[in-house]
């Protein structure tokens, strides 16, 4: 037996290991959960943070980016958390129910529990659920995620989050916002389980408010979409933040179900939205959209693996990236089609628009197909604003900046509109305008 090769730890890795030693006594969990946490910490110890020599992190070197690791954020006061969520009000005037997780901990007292209960939605504390005997299941990771370093960090440090359960057949009348608030500097690490029972319909809005300082945000959304359920979620990751934004989607989709997600990123210095989606029942549909904008030296990474593990499912992956200055964009997407997953239909497209000569886009769409009767396609483009289009608009009196805005918006809107969740369309387009205006 050979001992794992000892790597020399970076400051951030040493900080993380020290953080684990300090925090582990306070972090909740059954014995099985504690074991998982220890194993995850061990992974950080032996492998370090994910870095560019790990295939999946080739363009997204978290190890190089994190200069240090801040402690976990302290507990937040409910009043403060509510005030901040109200002030940032990520989804504006949109009518919705709200669930608040602040500094990594679920705050029932400022969440719309009664209204949600009336709609057939229950919300419980993920931290409390981790104390139960069956809790290890809550931290299970799909095979396609392998030994993902971001997930390991999540498992080691997960502070809390929510378990949202929509009961069978419920059709929730308004979107449900899950807002992660940071009232103080410090890392937030949460995990959320969203159970959408058979035939239920739910629309979610995900947002982040406040600042973690240099602390990382590591949030997992684990969706279990049952047969005949319909689910759509908008993930809004906006605002300039220094701490890495590390977001993970885990999703399993039953039969005759619909799963839709749009990940919108604009502003963070270092953002990764990684998604592991698997079909578990036939005749289902998964639609994944991405809109990323980055300038300065920011990084926006959209990574996904979609497993067509069963026959007769459709997936669509449509990702748009706009980059300026020295920014970097990453799209890594893979459609896996298992040998018996006949009649799978997968259509993946990633397109980047570079606003200047400086930015770099890494586009890596891939298909891995083991079935013979499938319809799968992928494409990637990367280009600059078309000067002829720009001239046409300017020749009609539209000043250059406004003409560029129209064209960038047109480019990104293709994904926003195909997402077909009208309640967020105008709102997201306004976010694009804000980003272009430097806000």
């Amino acid at each position: 037996m050979t001992a794992p090769t000892q790597i020399s730890h970076t400051q951030a890795e040493s900080d993380l290991l020290a953080r684990f030693d300090t925090a582990k006594g306070d972090l909740s969990g059954s014995t099985a959960v504690s074991d998982l946490r220890v194993a995850a910490a061990e992974q950080i110890k032996t492998k370090g943070l994910p870095h560019r020599r790990v295939e999946e992190y080739k363009y997204t070197d978290l190890r190089a980016y994190m200069k240090s690791a801040a402690p976990l954020a302290p507990k937040a006061s409910a009043a403060e958390a509510k005030a901040l969520a109200d002030a940032e009000n990520a989804y504006g005037e949109l009518e919705r129910f709200r669930i608040v997780v602040a500094n990594g901990t679920y705050l029932a007292e400022v969440s719309d529990l009664e209204a949600l209960a009336a709609e057939g939605v229950t919300v419980t504390d993920f931290a409390a659920a981790l104390d139960q005997d069956t809790a290890a299941d809550l931290l299970a990771t799909p095979p396609s995620a392998g030994t993902d370093g971001v997930l390991a960090l999540n498992t080691a440090f997960v502070q809390g989050g929510v378990v949202i359960t929509v009961k069978e057949g419920a059709d929730v009348s308004r979107p449900v916002e899950l807002v992660h608030v940071s009232t103080a500097e410090g890392a937030i690490v949460t995990r959320n389980r969203i159970n959408v029972a058979k035939g239920a319909k739910l629309k979610m809005l995900e947002s982040f408010a406040g600042t973690t300082g240099t602390g990382e945000t590591n949030v997992v959304f684990d969706y279990k979409i049952a047969d005949n359920a319909e689910f759509a979620t908008t993930r809004l990751v906006v605002g300039a933040t220094e701490g890495a934004r590390l977001l993970t989607t885990l999703a399993t989709i039953g039969a005759d179900a619909i799963f839709k997600i749009l990940g919108f990123m604009a502003g963070p210095a270092f953002a990764r939205n990684q998604q592991f989606v698997a079909f578990e029942g036939e005749n289902s549909e998964a639609k994944l959209y991405g809109v990323s904008m980055a300038r300065d030296r920011c990084l926006a990474d959209q990574t996904l693996i979609i497993d067509h593990a069963v026959p007769h499912c459709n997936s669509r992956e449509y990702f748009k990236t706009v980059l300026d200055d020295e920014a970097r964009g990453v799209y890594q997407g893979r459609i896996n089609v298992a040998q018996h997953a006949q009649k799978s239909d997968g259509e993946m497209m990633t397109q980047a628009l570079l606003l200047s000569e400086g930015p770099e886009m890494a586009n890596k769409p891939e298909l891995e197909i083991f079935a013979d009767d499938v319809l799968c396609a992928h494409g990637a483009t990367s280009g600059q604003i078309d000067e002829d289009l720009l001239f046409y608009l300017r020749a009609r009196g539209i000043p250059e900046a406004e003409a560029r805005t129209l064209l960038v918006l047109a480019f990104l809107s293709e994904a926003i509109e195909e997402f077909e969740e009208e309640y967020v369309t105008d709102f997201l387009e306004q976010r694009v305008r804000d980003w272009l205006a430097g806000k």
Binding site: F391, R396, P399, E402, L407, A410, F411, S413
Partner: protein, 250 residues
């Protein structure tokens, strides 16, 4: 209103000279037709008027309303009253036609220090002018020019022109791609805009357009130079005899 003096221009990318000393003076209220063989530089001239950066002016000047037009950005030229109806209007996916029209009208109003149009006023104007030009609401619901037929694109150009009310209308082969009825409708739309304060430069290959939009002056452009200028009868003569006589002259 417009005075082009000894204009020389080349393609910025490779330096090929296209215009080799164009002189043209257009007064307010006049309609000038420019005819000429393929590749003689007619579209190039229209693009230079509109401010396309693919071309470089090496000599000469363009005075518009007493101002040096060449110093203005394309959008400033539009606000100053220049409108080019493109020979090949381009499709702009993702830009809604109505949104585009409103943005363009309001941008020009803003540049002129006028108040922004209210939505109802804007809608009223668009409905009225579209009706005149037989442009359907269905077309206006689509992204700009996307999926429009050749003739629909040309009608959409004239719709934009009617809404923006420029003082100089440059029409580059607006008649090509139009069926007989559309030619009449579009010509009527153009004629409606004829006024003592407005000038038009109409580029065409065919007399049939000039039967509807009757020019005051006809020019022949050949190899980057105006080689002949005459009255409306010149167009008829060209229709009969072709350009052979003038190509020699260039």
């Amino acid at each position: 209103m417009l005075e082009i003096k000894n204009l020389h221009a080349r393609i910025a990318e490779d330096g090929t000279e296209i215009l080799r000393g164009v002189d043209l003076k257009v007064n307010a209220g006049e309609v000038h037709a420019i005819m000429g063989p393929n590749g003689s530089g007619k579209s190039t001239l229209s693009y230079i008027l509109a401010g396309k950066s693919d071309y470089e002016v090496t000599e000469g000047e363009i005075i518009f309303h007493g101002e040096n037009l060449l110093e203005l950005e394309p959008d400033e030229r539009a606000a100053a009253g220049v409108f080019l109806a493109f020979q090949y209007p381009i499709e702009i996916p993702g830009v809604a036609t109505m949104e585009f029209l409103k943005t363009a009208m309001n941008a020009q109003r803003k540049a002129k220090g006028q108040a922004q149009l209210s939505i109802p006023d804007f809608m009223k104007l668009v409905k009225e002018k579209s009706k005149d030009l037989n442009v359907s609401m269905d077309m206006l619901k689509r992204p700009l020019n996307v999926g429009f037929s050749g003739g629909e694109k040309k009608r959409a150009e004239i719709l934009q022109m009617s809404l923006l009310e420029p003082s100089l209308c440059v029409l580059d082969e607006t008649d090509s791609g139009l069926d007989i009825d559309a030619l009449r409708i579009v010509s009527e739309g153009v004629n409606k805009l004829r006024s003592p304060e407005r000038a038009m430069v109409v580029i065409t290959h065919y007399q049939r357009l000039l039967d509807h939009i009757i020019p005051d002056v006809v020019h022949v452009l050949s190899k980057g130079r105006i080689v002949k200028t005459g009255g409306k009868e010149l167009a008829l003569e060209l229709e009969k005899n072709g350009y052979a006589d003038y190509i020699e002259a260039a």
